[in-house]
Assembly symmetry: C2
Homo-oligomer: 202 residues x 2
């Protein structure tokens, strides 16, 4: 490990690890394969052995991001408690992830991906929404959520949270503390998802 006379040993992982640091610090624009190679003490062409081009590295980062996000969302969805509370937990978890890893999230959802990995990324994105859809379907069973295709309702719910994250990261939320904006969004969203003629919960 510490030797690495010629072969690095696990350059791919090291590249991803360092890339994530740079991504968080400087955004995707600031990510350079050559700078990464320098940081890791390898030649400027070494990264090409593990990532066909810069885009492939970005795609890999996005995949890693989705994997972590989905695990976290799944955990929230599987938590005990009433559906409404779990939905709120899901939303808070998403917002937390989004603002903590803003450039990564941008990479994950912006459609600038190669043909090949676009498929995998789309699938991972769908999984995120599927988690929400499952929860909404459970809510419908309980009578806590309005009727309708859970997948489409999940798109709506996801939109609200994703948009709030985008606004927060973009600095458009002004002096409104994100937690407050989050709670209000969840409140409005859950009220909107409640079946007609059932009171909106606080």
């Amino acid at each position: 490990m510490t030797d690495r006379s010629y072969h690095h040993g696990n350059l791919r992982s090291a590249l991803l690890e360092r890339a994530e640091e740079v991504l968080a610090a400087a955004g995707a624009e600031g990510l350079s394969l050559r700078a990464l190679a320098r940081d890791l003490g390898v030649s400027h062409a070494a990264p090409s052995r593990h990532f066909r081009d810069r885009q492939a590295l970005l795609d890999a980062l996005a995949v890693g991001g989705f994997t972590r996000l989905n695990a976290r969302l799944q955990a929230e969805a599987d938590a005990p408690g009433p559906v409404a509370a779990r939905l709120a937990g899901l939303g808070r978890a998403y917002l937390d992830f989004a603002v903590t890893h803003a450039p990564l999230l941008d990479l994950m959802f912006t459609a600038k991906h190669a043909e090949g990995s676009s498929e995998e990324l789309r699938e991972l994105g769908h999984h995120s929404m599927a988690v929400a859809a499952g929860l909404l379907a459970a809510g419908q069973q309980e009578g806590a959520v309005r009727a309708g295709d859970p997948a489409r309702l999940a798109q709506v719910a996801f939109s609200a949270l994703h948009g709030l994250a985008a606004l927060a990261v973009g600095g458009l939320l002004d002096d409104t503390p994100l937690p407050e904006a989050t709670e209000l969004t969840l409140d409005v969203l859950l009220a909107g998802l409640t079946p007609v003629a059932a009171g909106a919960g606080g």
Copy 2:
């Protein structure tokens, strides 16, 4: 105009115009000052007379986008009719703009801007939300919108639409037609904004 022996005449406008075409076709990543100069038949350094650097050009594009968007939103807000209908109109107009000018919208809302113009852009973004806030305040007067700071409710409404646009552009909406997703989002959103114990309108 057709002569332009040495001075182009209106290179700045021409740059912006061409840049917008390239932006729409290839995204911000595909925008190169040198390519722009080539397209316009000027030297590679000519653009620097009008835009200090690449970022300045991107910022100018974002400003132009906000100006057009805000004009359109304002028109929708000023239209006759009940508040709910105008809010829906606002939402549809925003979604239409967003998907029609996806790379431009990304430029407008993503926080990758220079210090100086960041101020102007933030202000323009606030104006967009202020339009919605004004409409929501009017809705509160009519009793059609729940109580609360209209500015914060506008953040919520904006989030929902902005997020939906992001999902649509990112291809996460699958086979759901955007108009349907839009209507469902507006439906849920307006229901969520309706005062408690008042029926949700269709």
